[in-house]
């Protein structure tokens, strides 16, 4: 059976992480599972965790009165869901729902923040990795805002 630090290293976001750091992450982690349709978290609730998705698909949703729930992004195996745990006031900005059955590792936000405070090298490493995810998603969001497919591209 694989230990959680091995599982952490299987995540695309944490691939190649120094073993000591992986152990620290694993020390704040536990496995989690969600059925299709089940909610991981809701907008406005305390953001005290993030998830490394190992299997399945998670949808980030925004409830729009009159239009219902819009899916603004999906996150698949290998990536992470949630960074509101990292920034005050530690409150979720969107809903997250399992589109398909999800297996994940849930990392306790307060626990890992405490370890980062104690070990700035760990904090810097994690901040770099989360920043890379943020940058990737920000760029993808900007491209979607450009509405590239809506123009006059002929066939």
């Amino acid at each position: 059976m694989r230990t959680l630090d091995r599982v952490v290293l299987e995540s695309r976001v944490f691939a190649g992480l120094e073993e000591g750091f992986a152990e620290q992450l694993a020390g704040c982690s536990q496995t989690a599972g969600f059925q299709a349709g089940e909610t991981l978290f809701r907008e406005g609730e305390p953001a005290d965790v993030f998830y490394m998705v190992r299997r399945g698909r998670v949808a980030l949703e925004l409830y729009v009165p009159g239009r219902g729930e819009l899916t603004i992004e999906t996150i698949d195996a290998g990536s992470v869901v949630g960074w509101s745990w990292l920034f005050p006031p530690h409150v979720w900005h969107f809903d997250a729902r399992a589109v398909a059955p999800v297996r994940a590792v849930a990392v306790d936000g307060a626990c890992i923040r405490g370890k980062c405070e104690e070990d700035p090298a760990l904090g810097y490493e994690l901040m770099q990795r989360f920043s890379a995810v943020l940058l990737e998603r920000l760029n993808a969001t900007r491209l979607r805002l450009a509405d590239l497919y809506g123009g006059g591209h002929g066939s």
Partner: protein, 280 residues
Amino acid sequence: MAVEPLVVSPGPMVPQPYRVRTRGRETADTWTIELEPLGPAPIDLEPGQFAMLTAYGVGEVPISLSGRGSDGSLIHTIRDVGAVTAELCRTPRDGTIGVRGPFGTTWPLEEARGADVVVLAGGLGLAPLRPAVEGLLSQPDSYGRLLLLYGARTPGDLLYPQQLEDWRGEGLDVRLTVDAGTRSWLERVGFVSALLDDVTVDFESAVALVCGPEVMMRVTVKALLQRGASPERTYVSLERSMSCGIGHCGHCQLGPILICRDGPVFTWDEVARWLSVREL
């Protein structure tokens, strides 16, 4: 003595009359028409090539081949974005449309033999790739893994939804994403390049075929190259203001390249430096 009827080629600048055999709506602003020749010399288009379609009395536009009927009829998918395309989309069954061609280069189905093939399409860019996908699937043993990664604005903007399902049934690994979805959409939401995140092909030897809006192609090719894809084996289909179709008028010039004559299908290393020049 029987006399063979004299068939004189009308030359590349004279549209040949074609009858609209079928027309069907794909999305809110996009139609697919099937054309059969009324004249004696049908035009033969290969995947990747384009024809100049004439709406008589209105004008002419370049449209890529998006399929062939079993008897060689031409299938084109057209988005209504202007006066000519609006008229082409409006032309009823049995109406007449002019066709000039064939023009341009083809998707490299021969060169791709033996390799994994990753097809990346954005929006209407699936239309020029469809005959290439059909060509790949017609000889699956000749290629390695076949993947189609396709992004569109919304689920309702996906072209050929039934065919996408059929292709899955034929063994094509089809991965879809949209810019915005609802709860009924169970596939991915995000930019098309993110579909590459969990693709496990041998990118160094794979052949990539990419078509969509130019910015989408730039971003997607960058993601492919980051994963080890070769610029010489990464193909894109470019679009500029093609007018004559034979490299005479210069309207589709991109640096030293004339898209209608030298393209529209290019390897990335042929065009990358020119696509980064804003003034071209």
